[in-house]
């Protein structure tokens, strides 16, 4: 009996082991499968999560739509408008000062030269968007690098030198310095862009600096230092990716600000010159025609506000998307 019992137990154990092994294999397979999926998509997951947070607010999506429309019109404006020839020195005095909403040929009326206000306004998107694109693509990398280097060398002479230099350019409102510098050169959109860039990078230096100086004491930076990683590696591969949220938010919100400054410069007469259909220049030219021919200035003015509104809504959405993930405000 005892033997039999033993045999039965042995057989039981064997069966159990087999079952266990099978189960284990199954579980392992599942785990591997899951791990594979996981391996593929941490980035995708993060993007999904951010898109979810972004799209929770319908205003963000409206902002995205406006921003994309503005960029589209900036690139393809001249192929969409009814009168592409009206961009420059075009004169048709027979059609001057047609009121808006009267004819389909000139839906938003015509200006003092008989040019289509709608066409010119749409073609003006190019100058505003180009201003923002050029300025930000110059300013963001340079500002961030300065802030990164200064923040990593916090409380050394490098920090003092870099950050105090950047203070010089934000010691006056950006518009005043941009006006002064462009005025000393000559009125030209290129100089306007350079002048605005010159006073914009310190803001990115500050943002990067504030984020970096709170990150340098984190463990992952310390361990990278102990591992003997180079300073460059630590700054750009360890610290920088953790600052992307705030920088990206600032960037989208800044599109609006740069467009305002650019339009203001043109409005004063220090940006693109007539007959270029720059929105600010058009508002300035039209403001002399108030109040009788109000549409010449009001429609370009509304277009500027529309673009800026779009990028502001977009910026708020980006901020929502990065709020906790990005670390910092």
């Amino acid at each position: 009996m005892a033997n039999d019992n033993n045999e039965i137990e042995e057989i039981d154990e064997q069966v159990e082991e087999q079952v266990d092994e099978e189960a284990d294999e199954q579980v392992e397979e599942q785990v591997e499968k899951l791990l594979d999926e996981k391996k593929e998509s941490p980035l995708k997951d993060a993007l999904k999560r951010r898109w979810y947070r972004f799209s929770k607010n319908p205003l963000s999506k409206i902002g995205l739509a406006i921003a994309l429309t503005s960029i589209f019109l900036a690139i393809f404006g001249r192929y969409v408008v009814p009168h592409p020839a009206h961009a420059g020195l075009y004169r048709d005095y027979g059609n001057k000062f047609i009121e808006p909403f009267q004819t389909w040929t000139f839906p938003l009326g015509t200006d003092s030269y008989g040019r289509c206000v709608l066409s010119r306004t749409i073609m003006g998107f190019k100058y505003s968007i180009r201003m923002a694109a050029v300025v930000l693509s110059l300013v963001v990398p340079s500002g961030v690098v300065v802030g990164l280097v200064a923040g990593y060398h916090k409380d050394t002479w490098i920090d003092t030198l870099l950050m105090r230099t950047s203070d010089i350019f934000i010691a006056v409102p950006p518009l005043v310095l941009a006006l002064s510098i462009t005025a000393m050169l000559e009125p030209d959109p290129f100089y306007a862009m350079m002048a605005v860039s010159l006073m914009w990078w310190p803001w990115y230096a500050r943002i990067a600096y504030n984020n970096v100086s709170s990150l340098v004491n984190e463990d992952f930076v310390k361990s990278a230092e102990i591992m003997g990683d180079s300073k460059l590696h630590i700054m750009f591969s360890e610290i920088l990716p953790n600052c992307t949220g705030p920088i990206l938010t600032k960037l989208t919100l800044d599109v609006g600000w740069v467009i305002i400054i650019g339009a203001s410069l043109s409005f004063v007469g220090l940006g693109a010159q007539a007959p270029t259909p720059d929105l600010g220049t058009m508002v300035a030219d039209g403001s002399g025609l108030l109040p009788t021919w109000w549409w010449v200035s009001i429609f370009p003015a509304m277009a500027i506000s529309f673009i800026i509104l779009g990028f502001n809504l977009l910026g708020d959405g980006v901020q929502d998307a990065f709020e906790e993930v990005g670390g910092g405000s």
């Binding site: 010691a171 310095l177 002064s180 000393m184 609006g256 305002i260 220090l270 506000s305 502001n312």
Partner: protein
């Protein structure tokens, strides 16, 4: 606290000196002869050279800078090619107008943003809140000069409520100069009609200047109120059965406005820049409009003086606001030094 303000003043001074060096050098290295701009093209060569020597423009740039700096400390900002007299005189004439306008706009902005912010913060997610949000989006998105033009069109041209330009009506003469500020001088001399006329002229530009920032400050106060409202001491005050009015105005409001005040300071400082556009649209006889006209004629001395003066005012506003915040917020006041 004193140490903190001292430190701020020191670094502001460093930044201003750096700024003046930058703008001075920039003005001297760009192509173009400042002397040629001052004199007529027919002026004989030896006169040009004499003038160049008397203004020290033949010396190296750093020497020129030190000479200029010495003059600035003596209150002499240099000769303006545009107005054909000393920039100091122009500053004395035009700056008070701009300061009056900005002060008026700041008062409107402070009142408006606090009312709006508290209005929205007391009615979270109700229509008042949504209205304020809409208003703040408009405020952020519409440039100051667009506001100015629309106001001019609607309230001046169409409705005729306000005059369309200038600081005083044609028949009204400026009060004799005591301080240089029209409103103050008129008040000191008891000319109340002049004050009324002046305010009538200044209201539209002041509102155009105040609105863009007002919206943002209101939003900050709103979110401040939401944050503080969730604090335990507020729940406790309510739990004690204190009347809502006392909870709101005694305990909730003061800490709620701190972020708002910081942003308010930034916005008032930004007005110094926007004033350039608004004064232009409304033909306001202020310093910014004068500076713009001088800039269009590449008047170097005026440009450098403008940047320096605006920089000084910018620094003062920032330091005053930081001090004010420290005063409102005892956490900063007592930890500071």
């Amino acid at each position: 606290m004193k140490k903190y303000i001292g430190k701020r003043l020191f670094w502001a001074l460093v930044a201003l000196i750096g700024l003046s060096i930058f703008i001075f050098y920039f003005g001297r290295i760009i192509p173009g002869d400042p002397i040629r701009m001052m004199v007529s093209p027919q002026t004989p060569e030896h006169v040009v050279e004499e003038l160049r020597q008397s203004l020290a423009l033949d010396r190296p740039i750093y020497t020129q800078y030190f000479i200029w700096m010495r003059n600035v400390f003596q209150g002499e900002l240099g000769f303006s090619v545009y107005s054909r007299r000393s920039v100091t005189v122009d500053v004395q004439q035009y700056l008070p107008r701009s300061l009056e306008l900005i002060t008026y706009a700041a008062l409107i902005q402070i009142t408006g943003s606090f009312l709006l912010g508290i209005f929205a913060g007391s009615n979270i997610d109700k229509w008042q809140d949504h209205l304020t949000r809409l208003f703040s989006y408009i405020g952020v998105s519409v440039p100051a000069f667009v506001f100015a033009i629309i106001f001019l069109l609607v309230f001046s041209h169409n409705l005729g409520w306000f005059p369309s330009g200038g600081a005083l009506s044609e028949g009204v003469s400026e009060p004799s100069r005591i301080t240089g500020f029209i409103a103050l001088d008129a008040l000191l001399q008891g000319q109340f009609f002049t004050i009324g006329d002046f305010i009538h002229h200044a209201t539209l530009p002041a509102i155009a200047l105040a609105i863009p920032g007002m919206a943002q400050v209101a939003r900050m106060i709103r979110s401040g109120m939401i944050t503080i409202n969730q604090k335990e001491y507020i729940s406790m005050a309510r739990g004690y059965g204190l009347p809502e009015r006392i909870v709101r105005f005694k305990y909730l409001l003061r800490p709620s406005i701190i972020p708002g005040v910081t942003v308010l300071g930034m916005q008032i400082a930004m007005m110094l820049g926007n004033a350039f556009l608004v004064e232009m649209v409304f033909g306001w006889p202020g310093f910014s409009r004068f500076a713009i006209n001088a800039m269009m004629r590449s008047d170097l001395n005026t440009i450098v003086a403008t940047v320096l003066i605006i920089g000084i005012m910018f620094a003062i506003i920032n330091i005053v606001v930081d001090t004010l915040v420290a005063y409102i917020d005892p956490r900063i006041r007592y930890s500071g030094s």
